[in-house]
Symmetry: C2
Subunit: 190 residues, 2 copies
DNA sequence: CTATAATCGGAGACAGCGCCCCGGTTAGAT
DNA sequence: ATCTAACCGGGGCGCTGTCTCCGATTATAG
């Protein structure tokens, strides 16, 4: 219902302040950050925060869901890409780059730490399905080892995201390449 | 002081009951399990638990530290193994197998979730150093790609351990092989 | 068997966090 | 300018989890 009632100017402003504060706090410290801290960062009272987002879950949803959906959209757009292998590995790169500085995305996708609501779970599931689709297509042309299934890829992906949480003095591109190389077709080693 | 005073028979028995309960609870649910739950499982009161382990950290230490130390010892024993590559990958396998059913080990090694004391951190650091040693030796003989350093390996290892937390219907050996393959020397792909 | 000292375990203090309510204030329409 | 309805925010409740105290109980020595 878009025309329910236009939000009052200050209410809209405060809502954005809260969302901005939540985005940066969640990204920096993960989903377990207290709501009071977000309210403090936003410069509003806890009561105001609660009015806009009745439960913590709804705030998480507002912050994380569109990030997940945007990624899912990018994945869907790659379904017909010319090179299936490039599409798959490029998408993996994209997700890693997006999630590396955002602990909340890692929490949501890897189901780590904080319990998350059904809406976020569903969005994460959509993203996983998108990856699985690209995986199957890349396997069909021999760009990815074909002995792994969607479940194994999910496990590897959660590990990949988690490893991005490490200290910033590690070369993240190098770490990522370990994962991508491991997913390539197995060649015999002598 | 070993001869301070022999623990009374029932006290020693209860201490073991608590340790057993903590081991299985930590393994099943991770380090964040409440102490009351451990006391309940052990069939003792919370007061009794506290007498033996004044702080949660001390209980975690008692449970996790010797597991870490045992692994470090196994790593040290492999320093002079005939095949450096086999030693490195075998040790990685060993750690993964040990940590797969034990969420507490993952928590401790990957610094995930619960904050852990300095003693456990130090033990984890020792284990990481052992792995780094084996890594360097394996790299010297060309069994492992030599563009990654100890920091990158730590990141990959934390990802590996975390990925072992996934649903049991995934083939963990397959997931592990993705990591090991990714660590092997890079071969050109066409 | 008795005495003594240690252990047991339930009840509760204390802190952190999510969630909620109400008096004062301000935006927006008439 | 005035009025009304919505918003602001500080204080508070309840829950959960760690840690503590103390009366009842039980193991060991003489």
């Amino acid at each position: 219902m878009p025309g329910a009632r236009p939000l009052r100017a200050d209410a809209r402003r405060n809502r954005e302040l809260v969302l901005d504060a939540a985005r940066s706090a969640f990204a920096a410290q993960g989903l377990s950050v207290p709501l009071d801290e977000i309210a403090r960062r936003a410069g509003v009272g806890p009561g105001t925060l609660y009015r806009h987002f009745p439960t913590k879950e709804s705030l998480i949803e507002a912050v994380v869901n569109d990030q997940l959906r945007r990624l899912s959209g990018e994945g869907a757009a790659l379904r017909d890409a010319a090179d299936p292998g490039e599409a798959f590995f490029g998408f993996l790169n994209r997700i890693a780059a997006e999630a590396a500085p955002k602990r909340d995305l890692v929490d949501a996708l890897a189901s780590a730490g904080v319990a998350v609501g059904p809406a976020v779970t569903a969005a994460a599931e959509d993203l996983r399905a998108e990856i699985a689709w690209l995986l199957a297509r890349a396997q069909r042309v021999g760009a990815v080892r074909n002995d792994i299934g969607a479940g194994e890829l999910t496990a590897v992906l959660s590990g990949l995201l988690f490893s991005m949480r490490s200290r910033p003095d590690t070369d993240q591109a190098l770490v990522l390449s370990v994962f991508t190389d491991g997913l390539r077709p197995r060649t015999p080693y002598f």
